[in-house]
Amino acid sequence: MTDLSDALQEPWSDLRLQREAVGLGMWFFLASEVLFFAALFCSYAVYRSFNAEAFRIAAAHTKLIYGSINTALLLTSSLTMTIALRAATARLQRMTLFFLGLTVLLGLAFLVTKGLEYYGDIEEHLIPGSTFPLKPAATEIFWALYWVMTGIHAIHLTAGIGVVIVVMLLFGREIVPVQGSTMEGVAIYWHFVDTVWIFLYPLIYLGGRT
């Protein structure tokens, strides 16, 4: 059980309590993140309720295929992340690393798809400004929100990927033992990013398809 004491950090005297603290701290941070996105969703809701038609027209120009592929990718990455966490708790180091790697790959695939989608959007001049092709004017608001929402989500995901890679290095070189409190926080964060996407998907891609 020597590796257990390695996992302990100041000021904790008990690994169970330390994991609990990391989980709790992470959940408090997520509550904060929820409010961060809530401000964005609230703006979206206000504008959509007053410009339903414009939002329908604008949403029809989003790339449904890319959005759907990305939804599947992220949902799957949540699965691999959960398995990685369970493996870490069971102290299966190689399995943890394998599933973390899979998660990173799925996340990167998401970003690549997102990049292709952005490329298509830019080709179609779907950036609010003088060359913006859609009418009425409020479609610009939808697309402004589109860029901000997906952009912020992508930044969150990129941060998540970065953290997972760092954690993999720490685990791989056995600087930090897998069963410590680290995985707890990483996994909760990753799922949260997925959660945000689950709401973004219908709001951005599923409007105006009928």
Binding site: K135, P136, A138
Partner: protein, 315 residues
């Protein structure tokens, strides 16, 4: 400049606001006196080493005191809310057929357009004892029309109409100024509110150089911009008839029904795609950038006059 330009009570509403202010001041004064008095008394009587008796107060009493003053505070605040809210609600009732004066704010001036067509800058002439409604919009950032003598203030927003209703009871010259920070010369975006008797107001209007009233200015603009090419009854292009439109409910192409008020008409001119009327093709050009707010005001006034004309049958 005299202080009375700010502090005069130029309307009944101002008197009511001052009464509420006085009431709150008295209550607050009493609370401050009570708290300060008690603290001072305790500080003197129970300063360290004094001979006043000490000892515990019974816990049950503490609890009752606590509940007592919570309830007392709560109910007095409820009373104050009721008083303030009823003042507010009575002020919200817009009087019928007010004299409608348009205010366009821009960095850093106030442009006023009277229904007669008279215009002025940084000065607002209004008749006393008349219901006046200011309909205001901004050409750039958010401004705020502040009339201290009327105790009134309202933000003036870009691309939206806000309004301010009052009935001034005192003639005289009062202050008018911008209260929402709007950039470099915010502090000098000020002018005068001139309350005159209705007779003088009529005389003042007549003396203004501009001959046409707002609606006629709008009519000229309507023709010169080519609006009449589509919106005239005999036009070949399929466009909505504007006669009697003002105030009527309009069915839009996305299923909503809205009242054709000033904001709606304004949007129709500047953002024709926002509220497309059901059954018409989207061919209306967008006038954003080619019209300033003052011109939009005249066009809206013209369309409103069409509504009035249709109902009286004079056209």
């Amino acid at each position: 400049m005299r202080l009375a330009e700010f502090t005069a009570q130029a309307s009944d509403y101002a008197v009511r606001v001052d009464t509420l202010f006085a009431l709150l001041s008295i209550i607050s004064g009493a609370v401050v006196a009570l708290v300060a008095g008690l603290i001072t008394y305790f500080l003197i009587r129970y300063h360290r080493g004094s001979r006043a008796p000490r000892g515990e107060t019974p816990e049950r009493l503490d609890r009752e005191i606590e509940i007592g003053w919570t309830a007392a505070t709560f109910f007095s605040f409820l009373f104050l809310f009721w008083w303030a809210a009823s003042d507010q609600l009575s002020a919200l009732v817009t009087p019928k057929n007010p004299l409608e004066i348009h205010v366009v704010a821009k960095q850093w001036m106030w442009r006023i357009q009277h229904p007669s067509g008279a215009r002025e800058i940084d000065e607002l002439h209004v008749p006393a004892n008349t219901n006046v409604q200011l309909v205001m919009t901004s050409q750039d950032v958010i401004h705020d029309l502040y009339l201290p003598a009327l105790r009134l203030k309202q933000d003036v927003l870009p691309d939206r109409y806000t309004s301010l209703s009052f009935n001034a009871t005192k003639t005289g010259v009062f202050h008018l100024t911008c209260a929402e920070f709007c950039g470099t010369d915010h502090s000098v975006m000020a002018g005068r509110l001139v309350v005159v008797t209705p007779d003088e107001y009529a005389r003042w209007n007549a003396a203004q150089p501009e001959g046409d009233d707002l609606a006629h200015q709008g009519e000229r603009l309507f023709h010169s911009l080519g609006c009449s090419g589509c919106h005239a009854p005999g036009a070949t292009v399929h466009a909505p008839d504007l006669h009697g439109l003002y105030g009527r409910p309009v069915q839009l192409s996305d299923g909503r029904t809205v009242a054709a008020d000033e904001a709606y008409l304004r949007d129709c001119i500047l953002l024709p795609d926002k509220n497309r009327v059901a059954g018409f093709p989207p061919v209306m050009p967008n006038f954003t950038g080619s019209l300033d707010e003052a011109q939009v005001v005249t066009l809206v006034a013209y369309i409103k006059s069409l509504g009035a004309a249709a109902s009286t049958g004079s056209r």
